[in-house]
């Protein structure tokens, strides 16, 4: 049986076969592992992988799983069953494509008004989480068509806080 998983944004195919003696054989790329395991409690599995034992801890993370092993922390998602947690993340460019907070937070300031115009990269909303303020910026130039939040609101990654109608003809980022 094949699973199409994503670990730390990296897609990986994992093949699972029955092995001998109640073992499971798991192949990832060209690596094949012989695995046995038991569940110690809801979140705690004890695995033996090619003879070496170890504890792994698994909890829910949206539609994926949060997995902690020897202090390392991973989020693994099932791409065949993508869920609500596939939220937009900050891209490598540093500017996400919507106005959404990077973490669960509270709106500390709204810097624009409905109907106003913004340039790309202009601060539009300040959110605060755990004493740390972050200014969310406009992903492109345009006109603010909706401000969906007010100061004090709790907001989450994926929530679009401000709608901006893109100014298409004179895209400043060209060239």
């Amino acid at each position: 049986m094949d699973y199409h998983l994503k670990i730390q944004e990296e897609p990986v195919t994992v093949s699972v076969m029955k092995g001998d003696d109640n073992t499971t054989r798991i192949s990832i790329g060209d690596r094949i592992y012989t695995v046995t395991g038991s569940r110690v409690d809801r979140h705690h599995l004890h695995l033996t992988v090619d003879g070496k034992r170890g504890d792994v801890f698994v909890g829910p993370n949206g539609s994926g799983k949060h997995i902690v092993i020897e202090g390392q922390s991973h989020v693994v998602e099932d791409m065949d069953h993508p869920g609500l947690s596939a939220r937009s993340r900050k891209k490598a460019t540093g500017i996400p494509d919507t106005v959404t907070p990077p973490m669960p937070s509270v709106v500390a300031a709204v810097l624009i008004e409905k109907g106003g115009t913004v340039v790309k990269g202009q601060g539009v909303v300040v959110v605060s989480a755990m004493k740390m303020e972050t200014t969310l910026v406009a992903p492109y130039a345009g006109t603010v068509t909706a401000v969906k939040i007010a100061v004090g609101d709790k907001v989450n990654p994926g929530d679009v806080l401000v709608d901006i109608e893109q100014k298409t003809e004179t895209d400043e980022s060209v060239g």
Partner: protein
């Protein structure tokens, strides 16, 4: 002795203070905001009083509400912890007026040490070395230029009213002074309504070393050795240790004496910390006094065996300090890692959420001061600290090994933590060499990424969790039971 103490704080520090109160047979009162009804510190107290909405200003910074809680419960004293109202002169004064013992220094001491220029003046007068620079507010760039020439560039412009990093400018050469001065004044004016600034010499490569002090009401002051706090990110300490790899016995004595002089100059009472900058030539300069219990106080407790909170309470109750300077000796090496709810893979942004599972490391030489439990929510409103993991070892090398193992044994599901980052820092040659300056993280870990060595294992874990019936195990009445391997694979084999 007090019969009942109200702890005007939350999280790990509230629990830590309550632990000592319980040992002393003193009843404890927790206060909590709407966001903290089920918080760990509330469960741990004998009584708990709701004090307001989730925003700190409505609750943990709400002086009226906290004073009302003291009166309602009949507490004798208030322990402010760190942060929130711990260095708020108004709160300390209000307690004084209401005849409630504030477990900390007198309000006038908090106020004078809270003002940067006043503190510098007190220290200069007390013979404590301060960084070359000014000890009066300045509104004239020419005056500052003269002082800057004397101190030598680079220099630092700071707002006298100070706080939160506002109004601070590094000036590397004289040509930059005028613009930097103007912009610092503007920012200070905007932030504090007071544009006056002053100037100190700026040290590029410097350690942050602080000395713990204890002072009773009778003028007896001791220092309780140093802590090395140079490993910082965004000006926030993340790893602290004691002793400092840079501090020799004779330097320790000199810095200790300077800290005692600082405490005496300020009329300090209770536990406090004198922060110094330590230059590579081992010259040191007064930075500020933290007029409260520090976050990192456990490293001092681990190497000295002294319970600082107990001494805070005894001092506040008017007792004489039982410790003599010659009794205070460090032994071995202690390290603290601050475990925040933050995502090291997402620029260390806060990572609030529900802790679905926490397993704390334990065993020889390990202490975890923890403010959460499995199932609790880490709210978005407060400091992201989940716990402080502290280890003690015979030597620095052994302590590092112990901390790495403890970090690897630490399980937190539901929120992200810097544990993988901490492991890499502790295992680095740079950290192990002890050559640690405040730019350590910027220099050695400018663009950290988690390694991928456990990726295959994580994928295997995902599969085995699926196969061993996560859903069924969770739903059944016996989910605590360990299924046999055959059983655990049964569901899958039949599928």
């Amino acid at each position: 002795m007090f019969k009942k103490i109200l702890i005007a704080n939350r999280g790990e520090i509230a629990r830590r203070v309550m632990a000592t109160c319980r040992e002393m047979g003193i009843a404890t009162v927790a206060v909590y905001s709407d966001a903290d009804e089920h918080a760990a510190h509330v469960l741990y107290a004998d009584e708990a009083v709701h004090i307001g909405g989730p925003e700190p200003s409505a609750s943990y910074l709400n002086i009226d509400s906290i004073i009302a809680a003291v009166k309602q419960t009949g507490a004798d004293a208030v322990h402010p912890g760190y942060g929130f109202l711990s260095e708020n002169g108004d709160f300390a004064e209000r307690c004084e007026r209401e005849n409630i013992t504030f477990i900390g220094p007198p309000s006038h001491v908090i106020r004078s040490l809270g003002d940067k220029i006043t503190a510098r003046k007190i220290m200069e007068k007390g013979g404590v070395p301060i960084a070359p620079g000014m000890t009066r507010p300045c509104l004239d760039v020419e005056e500052m230029a003269k002082e800057a020439e004397k101190a030598g560039y680079p220099i630092l412009i700071k707002a006298s009213a100070g706080g939160g990093g506002k109004g601070i400018r590094v000036v590397r050469e004289s040509s930059e002074l005028k613009d930097a001065f103007a912009s610092a004044v503007r920012e200070a004016e905007a932030a504090f309504g007071d544009g006056s600034v002053y100037m100190e010499k700026y040290f590029e490569t410097v350690r942050h070393v602080e000395i713990q002090i204890l002072a009773d009401r009778f003028g007896h002051v001791v220092h309780v050795l140093e802590r090395e706090c140079s490993v910082q990110r965004r000006h926030q300490k993340i790893i602290e240790e004691s002793p400092s790899p840079a501090v020799t016995p004779s330097l320790r004595t000199r810095m200790g004496h300077a800290a005692i002089a600082a405490a005496k100059a300020a009329g300090y009472v209770n536990a406090g910390t004198v922060e110094f900058l330590l230059a590579p030539d081992l010259s040191f300069y007064f930075l500020e006094v933290n007029a409260r219990l520090q976050v990192e106080h456990p490293v001092t407790e681990m190497i000295t065996g002294i319970d600082l909170v107990r001494h805070q309470i005894l001092i506040a109750a008017g007792q004489r300090l039982s410790l003599r300077q010659e009794d205070i000796e460090g032994r071995g090496h202690a390290i603290e890692c601050r475990i925040y709810a933050e995502d090291p893979e997402n620029d260390f942004f806060p990572s609030p959420g529900t802790i679905t599972c926490i397993k704390e490391p334990s065993g020889p030489g390990i202490r975890n001061d923890c403010g959460v439990y499995s199932g609790v929510e880490v709210p978005v409103y407060y400091d992201p600290i989940i716990s402080k993991l502290i280890v003690h070892g015979e030597t620095r090398e052994y302590a590092i090994e112990r901390m790495v193992k403890a970090l690897k044994d630490y399980v937190i599901l539901g929120v992200r933590t810097p544990v993988p980052f901490m492991i890499d820092v502790l295992e680095s040659e740079a950290f192990q060499s002890g050559e640690i300056y405040t730019h350590f993280i910027r220099t050695h870990f400018p663009d950290w990424k988690p390694d991928t060595r456990t990726h295959d294992l994580a994928l295997i874990a995902w599969v085995m969790d699926e196969l061993t019936g996560n859903q069924r195990a969770a739903a059944g009445p016996d989910s605590n039971r360990i299924p046999m391997p055959y059983e655990t694979l049964g569901g899958w084999r039949m599928a």
